[in-house]
Amino acid sequence: MNTKHTNESDPALSAALKEWKLSDPLPPRFQEQVWKRIESAEAPPVTRGSPWSLLTDWINAMLPRPALALACATVLLLVGGAAGWAQARHEAGQVGDELEARYLRVMDPYQGGR
């Protein structure tokens, strides 16, 4: 915002503006405000410093690439499948232990009490 913009560098714009008749008066510092808005629109987006914004920026930059999207989906599927397998194995072991104990209690009702 240090650069002072004027319409003198663009004669066509300057001429068009001079011919433009307005009935209402312009708000104060109108010309400067217009240039400020143009500058902010043309400026590259400012990176926010929070980890969340960095992550979302990275995701949005990377994931639309097909190879990375495929790799990410594969990893997520493998992680989900492995977690399901581990949980199923754990619960199956518990059910097996419980049924074994039940059979032993039926065969030997004094189990634990003797």
């Binding site: 599927l77 397998w85 619960e91 199956a92 059910v95 065969m107 009702p109 009490g113």
Partner: protein, 159 residues
Amino acid sequence: MQRGATILGIGLAGALLAYACVYFAGTAAHRELLRDQTPELAWLKREFKLGDAEFAEVARQHAAYLPQCQAMCRRIDEQDERLKQLLAAAPAVTPEIEAALAEAARLRAECHGQMLRHFFEMSRAMPPEQGRRFLAWITERTLLRPERGMGPMGQAAHP
């Protein structure tokens, strides 16, 4: 912005789906066991790899043994109760208490003998290798338990 989040969301949904599919496939066999009328016998069939004919014989022997086992447990519990009453009333070890202790021990020995005969009979109904494995496993977990025969008297936990 939206596209990346959408792709990530689809990936996470896929991961959840993979988890659910693998989990349900992995627990299907055990859920089926638990739906059985006698899940402990269904477990025995699976654990000792019994065929249908072998399992039918094992289930028959099991059903025949249970009433004998329950009757024996009743006799042991009654004898334990008798001994408890004698102990509550006596100031020292009396001949009646010694006789009650001997009878309690005799009943337990009779129960163990009956149990062991049933285990041998069950093992003979199984394929030879599985029968040996069953016999080793069941005696280890019942008759050969180190705490057996000691400790306080309690009620049999018949179902």
